[in-house]
């Protein structure tokens, strides 16, 4: 049976990034937990060894049980009866082995029963799980709602709920409603405070992933008469208390093992999490950022699977007396798939490391005051994480869709049949660029880092790193792309027209993303020569994209915007 961790040396490469030492030392507070917990690491090497060993277990379960169940889960799907949602048989088995293996609540502190893993190895597990069964990654990955509970819940709530998540209770985030999808400010689900101070929820939620979960985080309108985001608060609903039923589940194109529920709240008892009115503007934003990183990981996992399926088929399938991979047209598709996969994975882990760094400082700040130096670092890392999260989610999910498309293309007619995994991959991939904010919304989140210069600063930081002599030429080439990017930003921002700026935003974000990923692959190739091929392929791709966008922007007459606008 395959092991999805050990069969992929790229993962080990990313896990062992030089920045990990700082992350782990901060996360483990200089390894003081070892005195209290017999499974806490003694030092950096011990911690890294722990991550590897646990990822090896994840890889084993994913390469065996979970990947083997994926087809059956896709066929059977989730179901709904008597107000409840039910998982497919394979999903139930997958959840059982994940619980037994202790892979729930991986990033939670040990005192709540978690493994205290940094985000980076946790995200790596998500990457691996997604390759095995994309829809199952949703159910398993919703454990990161516990992060929000940990950050904003009170001590009592942490102690009551987080150990349950670590023991295997599943979670959901009940945000969207029939009239509040991308626009969460319109949420109507009503939270009413009773005389004794307790709360009840009434209303309907729609498109809730794993909506029949054990513990829900719910966005609801607590301030009567309000209409915008400032009237919304976050609540915890415990399924044990009853009051929420599943009216129906959606019949979806992909990720069929993950039940997407319409929920009816009838006087459902709930408790406030954090402060009133902060539900959307603070907590859900935090929740969504975590979830977006999760979808970025999910996308990379799907890309990996699509690439591997395509590669195996292209080597195996013979036409005109040779394997089809020997034809340049097919070989190019495979090489580009790998380059997109490698680029999006490098961005995923770069982003995860920045998330780790700012979150660990925030956590330390719960124990003691940060030094001015630490506060400054925390803020800087937070900004980088904010800048890279929408990029990793937006571009990673688009690449994963492109790879799923090309995977079918490589399979030719067979790819259109249900006999091969690629048609499932294609259907599963499709949602990644839609949920947790569409690619268009990721652009909205990312564009301010174009205009405020976060990406440009990051590019300068990467450009300052020395590389091996053999990589200097490609590094110089990336520098010319940076110049083109800056010129395009200058050109777009010099026009005082909001519609025009919005219209061009995607092009600028894509240029920035391509260049950031080029630099990251450069750094990978500098550490490990195996990445050189992907680096060269990717930079060719990005250079062409930058030229295309530059041409579009330069030759675009602002007055012709009317041709596009409704």
């Amino acid at each position: 049976m395959a092991n999805f961790y050990t069969d992929n040396p790229d993962l080990r490469h990313h896990l062992n990034h030089p920045m990990m030492r700082k992350i782990v030392e901060l996360k483990e507070r200089n390894y003081t937990d070892a005195e209290k917990f017999d499974y806490a690491p003694l030092n950096y090497e011990d911690a890294m060894d722990n991550y590897e060993r646990v990822l090896e277990v994840v890889g084993d379960l994913c390469g065996g049980i979970i990947a083997e169940n994926a087809e059956g889960v896709d066929h059977q799907g989730a179901s709904c009866a008597d107000g409840r949602a039910f998982y497919a048989d394979g999903t139930i088995k997958n959840l059982e082995v994940c619980r037994q293996a202790g892979l729930m609540g991986m990033a939670m502190p040990r005192r709540f029963g978690g493994l205290n893993f940094p985000i980076t190895p946790y995200i790596m597990a998500a990457d691996i799980v997604s390759r095995a069964d994309t829809g199952f990654e949703n159910l398993w990955g919703l454990q990161d709602c516990a992060e929000t509970l940990y950050e904003f819940g009170n001590d009592d709530q942490r102690e009551r709920f987080i150990p349950r998540v670590c023991a295997g209770d599943t979670m959901s985030m009940d945000l969207t409603e029939p009239d509040a999808g991308s626009d969460l400010q319109s949420v109507m689900l009503k939270a009413t405070q009773k005389e004794d101070g307790s709360w009840v929820l009434n209303g309907v939620k729609r498109f809730i992933t794993n909506g029949d979960s054990d513990i829900h985080l719910v966005l609801a309108r607590s301030e009567e008469g309000t209409k915008d985001g400032r009237g919304l608060s976050m609540f915890i609903y415990d399924k044990r208390n009853g009051g929420v039923t599943v009216r129906r589940i959606e019949n979806k194109m992909g990720i069929k093992g993950s039940p997407t529920c319409e929920l009816v709240y009838k006087n459902a008892p709930a408790e406030l999490c954090g402060s009133r009115r902060m539900g959307l503007i603070k907590y859900v934003m935090a929740l969504m950022n975590g979830a977006r990183l999760g979808i970025a990981a999910q996308s990379v996992g799907v890309s990996e699977l699509a690439y591997r399926e395509a590669l195996a088929y292209a080597k195996d399938r013979r036409q005109f007396d040779k394997a089809i991979i020997e034809f340049p047209a097919v070989a190019e598709m495979i090489a580009v798939m790998k380059a997109k996969l490698d680029a999006s994975r490098s961005l995923l882990y770069e982003c995860a490391r920045y998330v780790d760094l700012y979150k660990v400082y925030e956590d330390i700040a719960r124990e003691r005051q940060l030094t001015p130096e630490e506060r400054k670092e925390c803020k800087a890392y937070n900004r980088l994480a904010d800048a890279l999260t929408p990029m990793a989610k937006g571009m990673g999910s688009e690449y994963c869709n492109q790879n799923a498309y090309d995977c079918i293309q490589v399979h030719g007619g067979s790819g259109f049949m249900k006999d091969y995994a690629c048609e499932r991959i294609y259907r599963d991939a499709r949602i990644t660029s839609i949920y947790e904010g569409t690619t268009q919304l990721q652009v909205v989140a990312a564009i301010r880092h174009v205009t405020t210069g976060t990406y440009a600063q990051l590019m300068e930081q990467y450009a300052a790193e020395e590389v091996k002599p053999e990589l200097q030429a490609v590094k110089d080439r990336i520098a010319t792309l940076v110049e083109a990017y800056k010129a395009a930003v200058e050109k777009v921002t010099s026009v005082d027209n909001n519609a025009y700026a919005d219209f061009m935003a995607r092009r600028l974000v894509e240029m920035a993303g391509g260049i950031v990923m080029s630099y990251l692959l450069l750094s990978d190739a500098n550490r490990c020569a195996d990445f050189t091929k992907s680096l060269n392929v990717y930079v060719n791709l990005v250079a062409a994209e930058v030229a295309r966008h530059t041409e579009f922007i330069n030759s675009f007459d602002v007055a012709s915007l009317d041709n596009y606008l409704a």
């Binding site: 017999d38 499974y39 806490a40 690491p41 003694l42 060894d49 722990n50 060993r53 646990v54 277990v57 084993d60 379960l61 082995v97 037994q100 293996a101 202790g102 892979l103 991986m106 493994l115």
Partner: protein, 290 residues
């Protein structure tokens, strides 16, 4: 009721994916080409043991394995999955044992453990494929045996109820405790390694493994009894030198042959029933099939 459960486990070469380099020219196993693994049916046995432990809090699951000192690996693997501790029965004098000498040696070790309610093991190991060791241990200890077990249905009042997977159906039997139960590969799969246990027990070592550690790690292990696996020799289990190892093994291997299948002749048939039927008849007559 808390139980003392012994699980017999063996580290075996992975014979499930045998390539042409599995055997050396002299007919011995090429261990480099066949990674050492936990014998698959012993994992099924371990799962049954862990279920008994789940149902009877306070129970202990002890792994007993005979082999090279590195067989401690299977004990750690079992502990990651939920076993409590383990013993490696290892001694040069035990080498070259056939099933008779092996079962004698293991039976001696079981006697040394002394206090046990049930002994579980896999039906057979994938290297020898004899399915003899479990039953022979039962005979040597004078215990009842239940073979081909698929599920331990219940254990109470000094009796165990076991579902057996037989060729043409399922049989449910009741045996008094203590007894030996050998478990079939069709039984429930073993639970996975648990992340916390993996991190807690990764430094669990046998005395010979501990000797290879640096001083810091040695004292780390010394301070934590749960990291100390046991290693027993033939003398420690009061084994009669005449009944162990080569000396105690009446089975003598005369020769081992590496059989490589090659196509000697091929024949083309047309796609019609008559020719296919003709071929089938021919193959039945020359005993290739049927």
């Amino acid at each position: 009721m808390s139980l003392n459960i012994i699980v017999l486990a063996k580290q075996v070469p992975d014979t499930r994916n045998v390539g042409k380099d599995a055997m050396k020219a002299d007919g011995t196993i090429n261990r480099a080409a066949l990674p050492a693994i936990f014998n698959p049916e012993d994992l099924n046995a371990l799962e049954q043991a862990l279920r008994l432990k789940d149902a009877n809090p306070g129970s202990t699951v002890t792994i007993l394995t005979m082999g090279l000192p590195k067989a401690a690996e299977v004990i750690r693997e079992a502990i990651y999955r939920g076993a409590d501790t383990g013993i490696v029965l290892t001694d040069r004098a035990l080498g070259g044992a056939d099933t008779l000498a092996t079962s004698y040696s293991l039976a001696q070790a079981v006697k040394k453990i002394g206090n046990y309610d049930i002994i579980l093991g896999g039906r057979q190991a994938i290297d020898g494929d004899t399915a003899q060791v479990g039953p022979q241990i039962a005979e040597k200890l004078g215990l009842p045996q239940v073979t081909y077990a698929e599920e331990i249905v219940s254990l109470a009042d000094g009796k165990v109820t076991v579902k057996r997977r037989l060729e043409h159906g399922i049989e449910t039997v009741v045996a008094p405790l203590p007894c030996v139960v050998t478990v079939n590969g069709s039984a429930a799969d073993c639970r996975p390694r648990n992340a916390k246990r993996l991190m807690k027990y990764k430094y669990a070592v046998s005395p010979s493994e501990k000797a290879a550690l640096d001083e810091t790690m040695q004292s780390f292990v010394d301070a934590r009894p749960y990291l100390q696996l046991q290693e027993w020799g033939a003398a420690f289990v009061d084994a009669d030198p005449e009944q162990i190892g080569f000396a105690g093994s009446p089975t003598k291997v005369k020769a081992v042959e590496s059989v490589v299948f090659t196509a000697k002749e091929s024949r083309r048939l047309d796609n019609d029933d008559a020719q296919i039927e003709e071929l089938i008849k021919e193959l039945i007559v020359n005993h290739t099939i049927g």
